[in-house]
Every structure is written in C-alpha cells, then in structure tokens.
C-alpha cells in the first residue's frame, strides 16, 4: 500500500478504540515498517517446524478451518452433506469398526465381528464399557437401533443403501447386551467394510439431533450452519481422551480466507489446501500434510453406444493418455499413477497387470481396425466434477489429437452436468472417493449400481463378483476379484489416469496430525493434535 503510514495508523485508532498499549504497538509496527525492519518482526512471528519427538501436552482451544459448508450443514450422523459435516461426524460419532491410516479395518466400538462359514450370519461383539457423551453405556440395543435408522427404507442413510439390500434386521437378534447376531439375506463376505464407514455412526436409542450424542472423542457444544461448530473434549473417551480442551470447526467458503486464517494463526489446521500453495506456506509457519488417497476423476465411456461399444475404441482412448502429464498438470503433481482400475488400497488390487502407458501407434492401429481412423467424439466436462476435472479434460483433447482423434469439449453447467442427462452422457467425467473394490463395484460397475456411468454390465464380470461376495476365504476371494479387475483392465469403460493425493495443512504451533488414507486432515483426527507449547 502506498498510503503514508500515519494515515493507516489513524484509521486503526478510530475503528478499534485501542488501549494506549495497543496504540503504542501500532506505532511501533508503523515505525518498523518505515525503517525497513519488517523482516525482523516477521521472523519473530513465524514458528519453525516442531520437534516430532517432543512429548504431547494437554490443553488449549483448537480451531480447524474446513473447506466448504454452508446452509446445507447438518449434524445428522447418517446424512452428512458438506465437507464440514464429515469433519463433525468424525468428532461426535463412531462406527462399529474403523479405517486406520493405511486404509485397513480395525475394531472400534465392536471389538470383533466374525462370520458364519457361509457368511450369511455375522456375530458382533461390543467393546466393554464404551459410553455415550450423556453417560449411557453402548448396548446391543443401541446398535440395532442404529442399523434400523441407517437402513430405514423411507429415509435410507448415505451409508445404508448396500446394507439395506443385504441385512435382515427382523431375523437378526440381540444375544446379550454385548452381542448381536446379524442375519443377511444372502452370503456377503465384506460386511465389515460397510460397517466401518463414518456414515454408520452408532447412536443411542434416545438420540436427538438437536442435542446430538455419540461415542466420539469430542462432545457437542454449539452449531451454527454455514459458520462453525464447537465441541468439548470427552474425557471418558474409550480410546484415550484428546489433548486439546476444546475444538472449533469453522466453515470457509473461500480458499484465500482459509489459508490466511491458517497463516495468521487463527486456525491450527485446514483441509484441502490448494495444490499450488504447498510450497509457499512452508515459509510462513505452516506445514503441508500430504496423504495418499484412492480418490479418482475418471473419464467415463458408455460401453453400450457407438463408437465406445467397440472395445478397440475404448482401448485406443486409454492408450492416448499421458498419465504422468495429467498428474503433473491437472493435479500439480499431487497424484499417483492410475492403471484403469479403481480401489488401489484394496488388498486384491491387481498390481501385477502392466502399467498402461501412452502408445500413439497402437492407438492409431486399433482405431484403424475398428474403422474409426478419424474418430470424432464429444467429451462432457464440468467444474462441478471437482478439482482436476476440466484441466484433465483439456489435456485429453491435446493428447488425443496426436492420435488423429478429434475431441470436442463440452463444458456443461453444474445443473446440466448432474441434471437429466447425468448417467447417460456418452463420454464424460465423474468423481469418486476412496472405496474398496466390492463396495465400489456395487455402486458403479453392476447393472443395479446407482452411478453406473459406463453402463457396464458384463456377464463374466458379474459372475465373478457374485462369487466373490459369498467367498469367506480371503485368498480365494482376492483371486476372484483379481480376475474381475483383469476384465475391466482389458475391456472396461473407465479411463483412470490417476489417484489424487490429499493435501491439507497445519500450523507449526501444533503437532500430532499424520497422513491418513481414509479422509482429509488425518481423517479429521483432531483427537491426536496438541499444541507444542501448552497454552496458558
């Protein structure tokens, strides 16, 4: 600002009516600015990286800046809508099982879950003495109530669709206050993966969304949709209480405001740091938190309409993609190579299939064989698909041109893209978060899947999936899933060029947040965060 410093000084004096000391401090700041001492005062205010071996200490009020949110915000444990909603869910509620940092299932409120030999019956054993925030002990009755709410046919929860299709709650029974026998309508080998989702948080039978209680590390205090939510440490948390006394999650509609709040020390962490800022915040007292994720932004080709119904055309389009360039440019380098298969964290992920690389000659020859030497297609994209979508679509146009393919880009409005023609675009894009293979297939790659953009319905594939769903033996199941992936690798309708890396950031004044494959910001694990210097 080229204003003379004294005019700025008088402005502050008038707005804030500061005390004499404040005025003096402003005066000093102005003086420092005048004499070129700014670098000195900046150094004093920017904290260095904390020593990772320093023992953690208790206390302090911790603030997190969550991306997005708005008037749609809710505290409903089973219908989180916005990103801050998910952050809130993770503080208040807990599912029976949970995903660890490596995206593996570990026990939570349930200490074990064991199938019958044919996987049509599952026995859930609850951990002893877990209490809700209002003091009631978690019992089998609460769990049955939760499952009934989540799978309610009139209002099925976000994580309840698949559960509702396999659970027979009427035939399930409470064996004793800590044991439940779940009856399924068909063999299902991976129900543990459905019960580990944050959308299946356990609630008490007397749950009231206006005074929400769960078993999570933080208890509810206050909630203003679109602005903030406030929580207090739950001292009775079964897995060790949190370090900080209080947690406030603020909604941030604007990326710049979010990052500024972090750098000014008003919040201690933020999720979804814009990729291009990863380098600059390190000079300003904050550290990026980079995690692997299984989130993907595929191109979707409908396998039931020409020209994509010809598998040679689909393979040719997969071969024109320069995957590394897409990651470098569409994701600013924050990505992991994709190989046209999803669910990279699933133990069954087919790592042995060769990494597909750009091969223009092969693509041209496949197209010539298919009689589409001068292929001309329309690709529908939209900013609504999320970060990296429009950028990768632009790159695809460029890359396909090298194989003589004309790609016409149609940038659709959000309401149009996800409007009537969503799920019937011939060639478009979509976004998916981290899922393991079978849950992903159930939503995207079978005829009954809710979001089967590619209209994928392959008899051989369906048979394999059907067998895998019933197969209790892990090794045999993984072999079936591997074979299913191989079919998709050779003939599928997705072009999966990469998986996003999750980028969050935290202030150097706090420690304890670790990379996590499941959700942003250490799976919103503020329970693990603590202030480096105990606040007074």
């Amino acid at each position: 600002m080229r204003q003379p410093p004294h005019s700025g000084y008088s402005r502050f004096q008038m707005t804030a009516r500061p005390s004499r000391r404040d005025v003096l401090r402003f005066g000093m700041v102005a003086a420092a600015g005048l004499t070129g001492l700014t670098s000195l005062s900046a150094c004093a205010a920017v904290p260095g990286k904390p020593d990772p071996n320093k023992p953690q200490v208790r206390g302090g009020s911790y603030s997190h800046g969550a991306t997005g949110g708005g008037l749609k915000d809710t505290l409903d444990p089973h219908f989180p809508v916005t990103n801050p909603d998910i952050a809130r869910c993770l503080q208040l509620y807990e599912p029976l099982l949970r995903w660890n940092a490596n995206y593996e299932i570990e026990p939570s409120i349930a200490e074990s879950i064991t199938p019958s030999p044919d996987t049509t019956q599952w026995t859930i054993r609850l951990r002893d003495g877990v209490e809700f925030h209002h003091g009631k002990t978690v019992t089998a009755e609460d769990v049955m109530h939760t499952l009934a709410v989540v799978t309610d046919p009139k209002k099925t929860g976000s994580g309840g669709t698949e559960l509702a299709s396999i659970l027979e709650l009427n035939n399930s029974k409470i064996v004793d206050p800590r044991t439940i026998l779940l009856q399924l309508n068909a063999p299902y080998a991976v129900i543990d993966q459905l019960l580990a989702e944050y959308t299946v948080g356990v609630i008490p039978t007397d749950f009231d969304v206006h005074k929400p209680v769960g078993t999570g590390p933080f208890a509810f205090r206050r909630f203003v949709p679109g602005q903030l939510s406030q929580f207090a440490r739950y001292d009775n948390y079964w897995d060790g209480p949190a370090w900080v006394d209080e947690l406030i999650i603020y909604d941030f509609a604007d990326d710049a405001a979010k990052v500024n709040a972090l750098l000014a020390g008003q919040v201690q962490s933020i999720d979804n740091l814009p990729n291009y800022l990863a380098g600059t915040i390190e000079q300003q007292g904050a550290s990026p938190l980079v995690s692997e994720s299984g989130a993907w932004v595929p191109f979707t080709m409908r396998v039931d309409v020409a020209p994509f119904s010809d598998v040679r055309v689909r393979q040719a389009l997969r071969l024109v993609v320069d995957r590394q360039q897409m990651i470098d440019q569409a994701l600013n380098g924050f990505g992991i190579l994709g190989n046209d298969m999803y669910s990279p964290f699933d133990p069954a992920y087919a790592r042995d299939l060769p990494q597909r690389v750009q091969d223009i000659d092969q693509a041209r020859s496949l197209l010539a064989q298919a009689g589409h030497a001068d292929l001309d297609v329309e690709l529908v994209t939209s900013t609504a698909v999320g970060a990296g979508a429009v950028e990768s679509a632009n790159l695809f146009v460029e890359q396909a041109r090298r194989a003589g393919i004309t790609v016409r880009l149609n940038k659709a409005d959000a309401n149009v893209f996800y409007g009537d023609r969503y799920l019937s675009w011939n060639f478009a894009q979509d976004f998916w978060n981290t899922r393991n293979y079978l849950p992903q297939v159930a939503t995207s790659s079978v005829k009954s899947g809710t979001y089967n953009e590619t209209h994928w319905d392959d008899p051989a594939f369906n048979a394999l999936i059907d067998r895998a769903r019933r197969e209790p033996d892990l090794a045999r199941r993984n072999q079936l899933l591997h074979d299913a992936q191989e079919i998709e690798y050779h003939t599928g309708g997705y072009i999966i060029w990469g998986f996003k890396r999750q980028l969050d950031a935290y202030s150097n004044l706090v420690q304890g947040l670790q990379p996590h494959r499941y959700l942003p910001c250490s799976a919103f694990g503020f329970k693990h965060a603590s202030f480096v210097t105990p606040p007074t």
Binding site: R11, A16, S41, A42, S63, A256, K258, N260, Q284, Y422
Partner: protein, 344 residues
C-alpha cells in the same frame, strides 16, 4: 400538490386549520417521497420474486447427483415448496409473509429464514455502518486538506493516491492488507473475522479492523474527490471571496462558508456509496469469512435456495431505497433554496 402548484401565496387560506403551512407542505412532500419509495420496493419485490422463481429448478439444485435416481424425494420436495401451485398465488403468499415476518423456510436446511438471516443482517449492517462512520470523517478530512493545498505538491500527491486506490478492486485491497498485516509481512492483525463460539464479530474488535479498512479504502476516494471538487467550486465563488475580503481567516472560510455548502454533493455520493456497500460487502465478507449476508447470499444462490435469496435481495433493495430517501431529505435540509421551494 394542487395548492402548491396553483396558488403559492394562498396556501395559508387553503389550510387555515394548520398553524404552519410550511410544515404541511413538508409533510406532503415527505408523503410523496415515501409513497415513491414504497412503490419502488413493491416493484423490486415483483422483480425479485419472478426472477428467483425462474432461477432454475430448486429441486434439482438441492438433490444434485441424486435427482435422477430418487424420484420420490423429488416429489416430496416439490410438495414441500408448493411448486405445484400457480406462481401468482405463491407471490402473494410470499408478499404477505414479508409483512407478517413469516419469511418461509430455507430450502437447504429447513430452518426458518428469519432466524438464519437475522444475525447475519445485523453483522453486515454493523460492518457497513462502522465503515461509514470511519470513512466519512476521513474522506472529508482528506478533501479539506486537498482543497486547502490546491495545486500544490500535497494536493497532487493525495490525488494520485486517491485515483490509484479508487482503481483497485476491493478484493485486491483486502488481499494486500491481509498480506501486509496478517500473513506475509507483519503478524499483528487477525486475517479473518471468526469469533470463538459464534459470538458477534465486534466481540473481537481487532478482527474487524481489516474488513473495515478494506471497505473504507474502497469507498473513501470517491467521496473525497467529489467533496474536494465541490469545495473548490465553492471556494471560487463570489461570497467566499467577499468573506475573505472582509478579513475572515482562511480556516474559518474553509470550515464555515465552504464546507457546509459542499456537504450536499457529499451526502449524495455517500448515500450512493453506502447503498453500494450493502451489495459490495459480499466480496469483502467472503474474503474475510465475515459472518454476514455475503457468504449466505452466494451460498443460497448456489443452492437455488430461493426463500433465502428473496429475503436477502429484498433487504439489499430496502437498504438502497432507505439510504437514498435519507440522503434526499438531508440534501433538501442542507440546501436553503430547495428548502424554501418546498415550503413556499
């Protein structure tokens, strides 16, 4: 109106019951202005309602990806929003609601609009008012200094600074201020207006400094320049020359004779700027995460949450109309010629 137009000297005879004929003429003038204001607001309500009713399909906006897959939720929402009733019926229901304070429910979360926007409108109003209270003396002060040093170096430096600042969009000013005082250079002021526990923003006055400063910098240059040029016009007039010749000190000339006469254009431009602030505050609130109407308005438009958009749009329209009305009244009061024209 008629008596005013036909027989100006005969007003006393036409209204013998009234002791103060000027007062009655004033009342009539005021009533007419108020009537026009109400008419304007009504036209606004028609525009706002029909523009938002055609804003797109709110049901589709709410359901997004689920619109195609869950027809039963589409039906429920359509019924809940009464979208099956004719648009005219809905308009009058809504207009009636505006008067009775029944503003409807937000489409996004089902809470009453009144409780959602109440605090936010107050927060925004405080931000605009504080900015105005800071800006007016600064702008007039700058104008006085500038006019006093007309043609000299001080004046030209001030003018260059003012024109530069006027050319900067408010979000650029805001970003620069944040970088300067909060993040990059110094670390003395809060970068965003977030108060712990949802307390009103003024409970932490320091966090309001940067948003207020941004608005002041965005608006003050215009006011200062207009006031300066009207001051200069007045300073060149005959009566000011006469006052100087009489030996009145230049300071008094400037303050008493010139400033009062330059105030009227100042009021008009301040009113325009204040009215602009009511809408322009949106961007500044966004930048500072200020809990005002700005973010809610943007969010509501994105959600096609038309009950919210309608109330917020009507609020902004109301601010425009009221501020302009007040400015007109003040202008008349400060202009002796206009004052007598109405009264006679």
């Amino acid at each position: 109106m008629t008596d005013l137009a036909t027989t100006a000297p005969g007003t006393e005879a036409a209204a013998p019951a009234r002791p103060n004929p000027a007062g009655s003429a004033w009342l009539k003038w005021l009533a007419r202005r108020l009537g026009l204001a109400v008419l304007t607001l009504w036209l606004c309500s028609v525009l706002v309602f029909f523009a938002t009713a055609a804003l797109g399909d709110p049901v589709r906006a709410i359901l997004g990806k689920d619109y195609a897959t869950s027809p039963e939720r589409v039906a429920t929402l359509t019924a809940q929003l009464k979208l099956d009733e004719p648009v005219i019926t809905r308009y009058f229901q809504w207009l009636g609601g505006l008067f009775t304070g029944n503003l409807g429910e937000s489409v996004a979360n089902g809470l009453p609009v009144g409780s959602l926007v109440g605090d936010r409108i107050v927060n925004s109003a405080v931000l605009v008012l504080v900015s105005a209270l800071v800006m007016i003396p600064i702008a007039f002060g700058i104008a006085l200094v500038s006019a006093n040093f007309r043609g000299k170096r001080t004046d030209s430096v001030i003018q260059i600074i003012m024109i530069t600042l006027a050319g900067l969009p408010e979000f650029v000013v805001g970003i620069l201020l944040v970088a300067l005082f909060s993040t990059t250079v110094l670390h003395v002021l809060p970068a965003v207006t977030i108060a712990g526990g949802g307390a009103p923003p003024w409970s932490k006055p320091a966090s309001m400094i940067l948003p207020v400063a941004t608005l002041v910098i965005a608006v003050a240059p215009y006011v200062a320049r207009i006031v300066r040029s009207s001051l200069l016009e007045v300073l060149d007039s005959d009566y000011v020359e006469l006052a100087r010749l009489k030996g009145v000190p230049e300071r008094v000339v400037l303050r008493k004779h010139a400033l009062l006469n330059a105030i009227v254009p100042g009021i008009q431009v301040i009113a325009l700027q204040l009215a602009w602030l009511a809408g322009g505050v949106v961007i500044v609130e966004y930048l500072f995460s200020y809990p005002g109407i700005g973010a809610s308005l943007v969010d509501s438009v994105r959600n096609s949450d038309f009950p919210m958009v309608q109330v917020l749009a009507m609020t902004i329209a109301g601010v425009y109309v009221v501020v302009n009305l007040i400015a007109d009244i003040l202008s008349i009061l400060f202009t002796p010629r206009a004052r007598t024209a109405i009264a006679s």
